[in-house]
């Protein structure tokens, strides 16, 4: 009996001008329309939102963090609960990261060796813990996400040491092989490798080409979500999507600002994740196509418009900026209301992107979108350059 592949990917429409494409990915827990933005539910919950609410909004896939869940509640509890889906009552798709990024960014005493990452645990015992590719996959197997990430040797883009970066590229590939070997559920969970190389074209190329040789069903582009200049950023994304095969999904990690999403879709990216929309909601910020609204400001106390007149979310249907401004510093519920709006904002943006590609109008969409963000047309040069590289001219 042939088991169905845990990831079935099909391109539906390609934009004739740029590298953008609309596609569909079918995972064990359901279909996902691409390009997609995945909100981050770090600890197995999305900032106060009920999974039922998320389902109603049409959310198909979200992220959870291996490092956090591995610590609390831990693999034993997750196994006892039957996996994260059951534990948190989420019936859609899940993607987990490897835990590598958190460790390097959150923990001061992380030491990277060939074995894995050694660090001092944050729990009371302050024990030394080692996160190895095998251990990361073990936790991710227990969590049970549809897509799981390899443990990678991630180096900051601001690190100039080419030797170190070269080391990280080769090590990432070796760790990929260890992950693939340790993986217990190849029929229900998909491992995605992560292309590294920071800002060195040759190293990125090497990393991508090595990963392509492995039997994987999708690819992630890593190490590009902080510190580097936007000019370098887009070039690396463009390079990566040129090398990675078209017939498999490409996931750009840690990218979530609206304009970045639009540009990277044009560059051929299919999946994104970012804490930004949900995190900024906690600080009282609502997202609109024209920019962010900091609802704590006095000016909103008498603004009786909804956050966005065109937004279909419950928050915009029922409440005004004035009301939200009044409760944003006082009620925890304000956070839920803004989180819902921001998630719907991101989802609508992706939906508009997909629809415009399907209709063959993606370049027009991009132009209209950028005009909304930059009404005086003073577009940053990186946006002009990156779009130009895929044949979209901003007037």
């Amino acid at each position: 009996m042939t088991t169905k592949s845990p990831l079935v990917f099909s391109i539906l429409t390609e934009c004739g001008t740029s590298k953008a494409r609309v596609s569909r990915m079918i995972l064990p827990h359901g279909p996902v329309d691409l390009p997609v933005f995945m909100p981050v539910g770090t600890q197995g919950t999305l900032k106060g939102m009920l999974p039922e609410q998320l389902e109603e909004l049409g959310l198909q896939i979200m992220l959870a963090n291996t490092y956090h869940l591995g610590t609390k509640p831990g693999t034993e509890i997750l196994q006892k609960a039957g996996g994260l889906h059951k534990f948190m009552n989420w019936n859609g798709c899940l993607l987990t990261d490897s835990g590598g990024f958190q460790m390097v960014s959150l923990l001061k005493l992380a030491e990277i060796t060939e074995d894995g990452v050694r660090f001092q645990s944050l729990n009371d015992q302050k024990a030394e813990v080692m996160l190895t590719p095998e251990h990361s996959i073990e936790i991710q197997n227990a969590i049970g996400a549809d897509i799981i990430m390899q443990l990678d040797d991630v180096v900051k883009t601001t690190n100039p040491d080419k030797e170190r970066i070269e080391e990280s590229v080769y090590r990432t590939t070796r760790w990929l092989d260890r992950c693939l070997k340790a993986h217990q559920n190849p029929d229900t969970q998909n491992i995605f490798p992560i292309v590294q190389g920071t800002l060195y074209e040759d190293l990125r190329e090497k990393s991508a080409k090595d990963h392509i040789e492995r039997d994987v069903r999708g690819f992630a582009i890593g190490g590009l979500s902080g510190g580097e200049s936007k000019d370098d950023f887009w070039k690396m994304v463009h390079l990566s999507t040129n090398i990675l095969p078209k017939n498999k999904p490409r996931y750009l990690m840690g990218v979530g600002f609206a304009e970045d999403l639009v540009v990277c879709c044009a560059l051929g990216v299919d999946m994104f994740d970012c804490v930004f929309p949900t995190r900024t909601a906690r600080f009282g910020c609502a997202l609109t196509r024209k920019g962010q609204l900091n609802l704590k400001k006095e000016q909103f106390k008498k603004d009786f418009r909804p956050i966005d007149e065109n937004c279909p979310c419950n928050t915009c249907k029922n409440y005004t900026r004035a009301y939200l401004s009044g409760i944003v510093t006082v009620l925890p519920v304000a956070c839920h209301l803004l989180t819902e709006h921001n998630i719907v904002f991101q989802m609508n943006l992706m939906k508009d992107i997909r629809q415009s590609i399907t209709k063959g109008k993606f370049p027009d969409f991009v132009r209209d979108f950028m005009l909304q963000v930059y009404p005086t047309k003073n577009y940053p040069s990186w946006i002009i350059d990156s779009l130009s590289a895929v044949n979209i001219k901003l007037k």
Binding site: G48, P73, E76, K80, N89, K301, A322, L331, P332
Partner: protein, 424 residues
Amino acid sequence: MTHVKWSKHINSEVCDAVFPLSCCVITISPLGKPRIGTLTLGRSLQSLNTPCFLVYTSHGAPPYTTLDNLRTINPKLTAVQLCLATLFDILITSASNYPISSFRKFFGLEGFLLFFTLSDPMLVLPEHFNTKKHIKINSVNGRTKISSRVYMKLVEELNPDVFCPLIDNIPLHCPKYKDKEAVNRTLMLLDDCILAMKDHPDLQSSALFGVIQGNSSIEGRRRSAYETSKRDVDGFLLENFGSHLKRDVFRTLLSTVVHELSAEKPRMISTFGIPELVLDAVEFGIDIFDGTYVPCRLVILFLQLLLNLRYPLLMAEDGNALTFYIPGHSVCRMTISKAKHISLWDDIFLDDVNPLCPGCSCMACTDYSRSYVHHLLSTHEMLAKVLLTLHNLQLYENFFCAIRSSIKAERFSTFKETFEKFYL
């Protein structure tokens, strides 16, 4: 002025004429004071079955859940309590400039029955801030004086179904002379309010509940109840009852007050939400309770009250799920102890895959486990309190449903006894 229609048919609930104004039908159980009734409120002609509780809100929303999430609760909760104490700033800064005339829409409260009071039942006043001439209210700019005129204007714009007049709100513990003064001043303010109603025709279809003060003074309460009863009010709010009082003391107070009140008008009581106290109050004929027990548990100790501005040991806020036994209804099959509530912070729940309260049919208990809620609390995630609040509201509503059924079946005293025995 609003009219009150009453019917003394035993065991019948139907009001034989529908008034466009606020009306209330109470059926008196033949065995004594507990009564079930239907409160039909003029503004929206929605009815409320009593005894019942109101959903507590702060700034127009329940503490940890959106109004939208309330629809997971069955039967639908439609009555909410709003208080000027938490609404004042947002009313003055924003709502009063709202171009649409209804504040309800501003707060997203269309479709709900609104009960409006001055004081916030979740806040224990530390001192008496009102002076002989002015009632004071807390705002971002410090304590502001509020006059009857301003108060009535805000009430009119809010357009509640039930409202209380401006009162002299005092702390639970005051020198005796202050209790007495508060009763007098509250009566004066009530008279002002009734007079002012002429200038606010829109309030004609809102019900006015007179507030009964007096703290723990029997004579004070009696006088307050008697005098308030003489005025043209549609119902009563027994304020500041304080569950810190000894049982025999508050039973005497309840009895004293109820004796003075006309049977056909609904009675509401504030901060009296612990299940055993609810049963006592229902026995004496109280119809409406506020929902402070759901987010918070009332403090019994006198000293703790003095030290804290808000009731400590808050329920949902502190990670507690209500799990008390409702006789004849769904039994909470506690595997741990006969606890009235459990704290999900407890490590014992780390790997407990049971629902919060086995036997409960609420969304939180059907789809989630104690283990998950414990995880949410220990990672400081907001969803914990959402789930706990929704569960607690459902259980509390089930409790009131059971109370109503037992009165209807003339089995209330058995119900009450069974409950009390279970916890002895």
